[in-house]
């Protein structure tokens, strides 16, 4: 079945509509990935990068002094007295650390302060108590002895007692700063004013104000702010404030801004890349307990003070009952205080995960490019190669993600891209397979059809052939005893056409009837028509002594039912063996050849010859007569002989006549075989287009005479 080129295009277009739609949906999903389940996959993949390539922790610049279970059992329940904390602070500062950060907010007065005790315990002498030192003042004094940083907690909504901290960061206040998408808190929980004043700095300990907004994050802490505004004033986190203090006058703090928000934070010579909102994507190092010291041990003087020298020290909780635990992307549970350690280390080594504004755009471009590649390639490839092409693309995307992380901690989401491309691929592969399947079925159907047609034709031709051949008499068996004449006949059917026939029979003692005919058409209709013609001719020539009348009767009978408008050319002759008288009717057939004493001529059929039987409704056929002489040889043939072709020219009547003369001495059966061979030689392998039929009648005369050709 042929298709117009336009139809093919339309079909191809219809096959591509779904993949293109799926690709666009994938792009939409990628743009809004936070609203899809893919967000979990993405976070899981980003975490996997870290787990497989964690940040190396070569040295330990930070020491955590933990208020742990041991400390609580040694010094009693939390909160401890500020005097105890003052002692702890003094012990640490004695070792001259770079900075001491205290991951605790002291918002309320010490409950052991003499004033409070005096109010609670009515029996105590108030005037004596008033002279005792205020514990918060003692603690404040200790804090003032070194570079110390107090924690503040930014609040999204003001609470009773909340107020802004006192020690904001000294930034060059640009007009732009107010418009940047930095974390902002209207108020904060801060320590008591005398503590604030005594400490060198204040840093917030809010970890990622928007981190837990979706359940898929499962409390994993991936990002912390590096800068926040509390009541319009800028602050650093506790960790970075410690670093800034340690650098002293060189600790100039400069947030860097670009067209897409904040891009990094610089403190002195150190720099961290950040997200647009100032968040740091922490590249975690593996958790370690090496740098954790117990507060009880420090108070007991177990460690020499030098252990704190040139190190950052953070005082925080490390007790099961008090600590806030954090789940890291590495899958580890660490105390919240450990985040400050990770941030300080990150700043010192400049290590951060990077996902700048252009990375999502790169991912979108990769998705569209990959999708278009698939759309172009998959329909053109065999299914096996198509699967390989998708696998290759997915491998490239996922592998590219790992390579990007390895080379610069870039967070490129390969798995989501591969997953988003899979519906595109599946739909493409599906339509390719459906197309291939349809083609295969079509081919099978056509093969089956052609086989069936061939079988039908073969069956029909075979039936036609058997009808044709089964009706032909064997003259040599029929006339084995005859010595007045000899008859030999031959019919070789062509492959596709069957419509020739011959016949020979005795009408009575003396009269021999010979017939040769050729039905137009082929197959069963021609064979049946031939069978009817042969039977009618045989019957009606016996009934009717006038041969012309007999043939007119034959045509009338044939015409009664002839829906296919078949016709038959025929030459019918009756030989009186006693007299040699030959009556004949020619109905549109080739005139037979007569060999008489070495010369050849055509039987004169022009006089009364008519058109083929059934070519007209009723032609008035009339018989002709001629006298045969002993030794006369009559050759009846069909156009299968004269129109045999060698591809260029036809065998023709003249070649037939010449061959007949050449072989005339032979007995009729041998003569037939020789003529047949001549025709086949001439055809030189070209398939015969029509049946080849020959009938030889050799008149020998009276039995008394001996004819040289009559020996049978």
């Amino acid at each position: 079945m042929k298709r117009l080129p336009g139809t093919a295009l339309l079909r191809a277009g219809r096959g591509l509509a779904l993949p293109i739609l799926l690709l666009l949906s994938a792009a939409l999903a990628l743009e809004n990935i936070e609203a899809t389940p893919l967000a979990s996959l993405r976070n899981a993949q980003f975490d996997r990068y870290q787990r497989q390539m964690p940040r190396q922790r070569d040295n330990e610049p930070v020491i955590v002094v933990g208020i742990d279970s041991q400390s609580l059992s040694a010094h009693g329940q939390w909160p401890w007295s500020r005097e105890l904390l003052a002692e702890l602070t003094k012990k640490i500062l004695a070792g001259q650390p770079l900075a001491l950060g205290i991951d605790i907010v002291f918002a309320e007065p010490d409950r052991y302060s003499p004033g409070i005790l005096g109010e609670k315990l009515a029996g105590l002498p108030r005037n004596i108590l008033a002279k005792l030192p205020e514990p918060d003042n003692v603690f404040a004094e200790a804090l003032g002895d070194g570079p110390t940083v107090l924690a503040v907690v930014g609040l999204a909504n003001p609470l009773p007692g909340s107020r802004p901290p006192h020690k904001p960061l000294a930034l060059l206040a640009g007009g732009d700063l107010a418009r940047q998408p930095i974390a902002r808190f209207p108020s904060a929980v801060v320590s008591r004013p005398m503590l604030e004043k005594a400490a060198s700095g204040e840093g917030f300990i809010n970890a990622s104000p928007d981190a837990l907004r979706s359940s898929s994050e499962r409390g994993v802490l991936r990002r912390v702010p590096t800068l926040a505004f509390i009541d319009q004033q800028p602050f650093l986190p506790l960790s970075l404030e410690m670093l800034r203090l340690a650098l002293g006058s060189e600790g100039q703090t400069v947030p860097e801004f670009g067209r897409h928000g904040m891009s990094g934070l610089r403190i002195g010579d150190y720099r961290l890349p950040t997200q647009g909102n100032g968040d740091l994507l922490i590249h975690y190092g593996k958790a370690s307990s090496h740098y954790y010291l117990s507060a009880a041990d420090v108070l007991a003087g177990v460690h020499a003070p030098e252990i704190f020298r040139s190190r950052f020290v953070i005082l925080g909780f490390n007790s099961t009952g008090l600590q806030d635990s954090i789940v890291t992307p590495l899958g580890e549970i660490v105390p919240g205080v450990d985040i400050h350690v990770q941030v300080i280390e990150s700043m010192l080594s400049g290590a951060a995960l990077q996902r700048p504004y252009w990375l999502p755009r790169l991912e979108l471009a990769a998705l569209l490019l990959g999708g278009l590649l698939l759309i172009v390639a998959v329909p053109a490839l065999r299914p096996r190669l198509a699967v390989l092409s998708y696998s290759g693309l997915a491998t490239l995307l996922i592998g590219g993600g790992y390579l990007a992380f390895y080379s610069g901690q870039w967070l490129f989401d390969g798995p989501s891209l591969s997953l988003l491309l899979s519906p595109v691929f599946v739909s493409l592969l599906g339509s390719t397979l459906i197309e291939a399947d349809a083609k295969r079925r079509q081919a099978e159907r056509e093969l089956q059809d052609s086989r069936e047609a061939a079988a039908r034709t073969a069956g029909e031709l075979d039936a036609a052939r058997r009808i044709q051949m089964g009706l032909l008499p064997d003259p040599q068996a029929l006339f084995a005893e005859e010595n007045r004449f000899a008859v030999a006949a031959l019919l070789e059917p062509a492959l596709a056409v069957g419509g020739d026939y011959y016949d020979c029979f005795m009408l009575d003692e003396d009269r021999l009837c010979v017939v040769i005919g050729d039905v137009s058409g082929k197959g069963i209709p021609a064979s049946l028509f031939m069978a009817i013609s042969k039977t009618l001719t045989g019957t009606l020539t016996r009934l009717e002594s006038d041969l012309g009348q007999a043939i007119r009767d034959v045509e009338r009978e044939l015409n009664r039912e002839n829906p296919e408008y078949l016709f038959v050319t025929a030459f019918v002759a009756v030989l009186d063996a006693a007299s040699g008288q030959l009556n004949f009717v020619c109905a549109g057939h080739d005139a037979p050849l007569l060999v008489r004493r070495g010369t050849i001529s055509k039987v004169a059929t022009q006089t009364h010859g008519g058109p083929p039987l059934c070519a007209t409704d009723s032609y008035p056929y009339r018989a002709d007569q001629m006298q045969l002489e002993p030794g006369d040889l009559l050759c009846l043939f069909t156009d299968g002989v004269t129109e045999a072709s060698d591809g260029q020219s036809l065998f023709g009547g003249e070649r037939l006549a010449a061959a007949l003369l050449r072989h005339r001495e032979k007995a009729p059966p041998d003569l037939l075989a020789a003529l047949r061979d001549d025709v086949r030689d001439f055809e030189a392998g070209h398939p015969a287009a029509d049946d080849l039929t020959l009938l030889m009648l050799n008149y020998c005369g009276q039995p008394a005479k001996t004819a040289k050709n009559g020996a049978l």
Partner: protein, 115 residues
């Protein structure tokens, strides 16, 4: 099979060419069909120009016979002209000149049919 036609002195002349054997006869039948449908009284006579026909088999003759019968049934005029010698011989042997009017040339045919 393509059968170019032209009209000359009121006769519709149809040029037939090539070999009309068993295979070509089916196409010949189809190509002839619409022309025969118009071969009725009041329409121009239909004349087949056989000058381009090299060979005709018995199947080809059958097509002509059926066409001739149909034209006769519709009382239309259907004839044939300008036979090549080989085709002329086939016509002579099968006496098809008795079945349908055969003319030596197109001019001769037009003189008779166009009147």
């Amino acid at each position: 099979m393509h059968l170019p036609t032209r009209e000359q002195s009121g006769v519709l002349i149809v040029s037939v060419s090539g070999r009309i054997d068993h295979i070509a006869s089916e196409e010949f039948t189809k190509a002839l069909d619409p022309l025969l449908a118009n071969c009725v009284p009041g329409q121009p006579p239909l004349l087949l120009d056989f000058s381009g026909v090299e060979y005709i088999s018995s199947a080809g003759l059958r097509v002509l016979m059926i066409a001739s019968r149909r034209a006769k049934g519709q009382r239309g005029v259907f004839a044939i002209a300008a036979l090549q010698p080989l085709v002329q011989e086939v016509f002579a042997i099968s006496r098809f000149n008795l079945i349908m009017p055969c003319y030596v040339s197109l001019d001769a045919a037009c003189k008779v049919l166009g009147a």
